[in-house]
């Protein structure tokens, strides 16, 4: 059990949130020009880091807003929380 600080609502229990996968994945501008492999890479391949990872989260049972989080996957320590469209602070 751990506490997540929603950028809108403040400190809440993690059970109110849902995980939204890796953050800052940019959609290719011309998908039609990609090979199948490159397209599959964009669609399915995700990093699986032990350490600091940038993620998307949704405060699903609260304000229903999306936001980003940098979290250490090895010990669940949250480094920072920032809004959609913003860059991580460090």
């Amino acid at each position: 059990m751990f506490i997540i600080k929603c950028p809108y609502c403040g400190d809440r229990d993690h059970s109110e949130f849902s995980y939204g996968g890796e953050a800052h994945k940019v959609r290719p501008k011309q998908p039609a020009e990609l090979s199948d492999e490159q397209w599959a890479e964009y669609l399915f391949i995700r990093k699986n880091i032990k350490g600091l990872q940038y993620e998307r989260w949704n405060h699903a049972h609260g304000c229903r807003r999306w936001f980003n989080m940098s979290r250490d996957t090895s010990n669940d320590k949250i480094r920072s929380v920032y809004k959609m469209g913003e860059k991580p602070k460090e």
């Binding site: 403040g10 809440r12 229990d13 049972h61 609260g62 304000c63 229903r64």
Partner: protein, 189 residues
């Protein structure tokens, strides 16, 4: 016109805790951008109050209370119960004409979507804490605060009106289930 059926017909009281259903009350969901001056001034004029900007806060006048649900989302609730025969809501029409039609925001009537449990007594948070991860003893949770969270796996909106007076909003289809859970929990205090 909708044939109003309440999911809960009884009222219950326990050791310093009582609950009953409060229906029908007008509830309107409002979406819009407060930084848009057009939207902000129109809303202020129609409602006769400023929408709460701070997280989890509320504002009210004699007729309506607005609850903060998100940075661009509010729930407008009538303070009084409506007569059971009517299903037309004047406020909805006014907002629709001035906000939705002008493309400033979105108005959704959620009157029949939510039902309200009126909880009272000094043991309210004793009961709610049994199934809720929110810390009700937090200093941020005073009078006239509203919080959206989960109560025994059900999405709820909890509006603390006074020290011992809470309105609990729950989706109608979950109401009977949550009511039974509240009865169970209240039996244990």
């Amino acid at each position: 016109m909708l044939d109003l059926l309440t999911p809960v017909t009884e009222s219950q009281s326990y050791n310093n805790f009582s609950m009953k259903e409060k229906t029908p009350v007008t509830k309107i969901n409002l979406r819009g951008n407060l930084e848009n001056k057009d939207f902000a001034s129109k809303i202020e004029k129609i409602l006769g109050m400023v929408l709460p900007k701070e997280a989890c806060s509320t504002s009210n006048n004699e007729k309506i209370t607005s609850l903060w649900l998100g940075p661009n989302e509010w729930l407008l609730v009538s303070n009084n119960e409506e007569p059971k025969e009517t299903n037309t809501y004047e406020l909805e029409q006014v907002l629709f004409d001035n906000i939705s039609k002008a493309n400033l925001g979105a108005i959704t009537n959620v009157t029949d979507h939510f039902t309200i449990f009126k909880l009272s007594g000094s043991n309210i948070f004793e009961v709610l804490s049994k199934g809720c991860p929110f810390d009700f003893s937090s200093e941020d949770f005073e009078h006239n605060k509203v919080v959206q969270t989960i109560l025994n796996h059900v999405d709820v909106t909890i509006h603390r009106k006074n020290e011992n007076d809470v309105d609990l909003y729950v989706r109608r289809s979950f109401a009977a289930y949550l009511w039974d859970w509240l009865k169970d929990s209240a039996n244990l205090i």
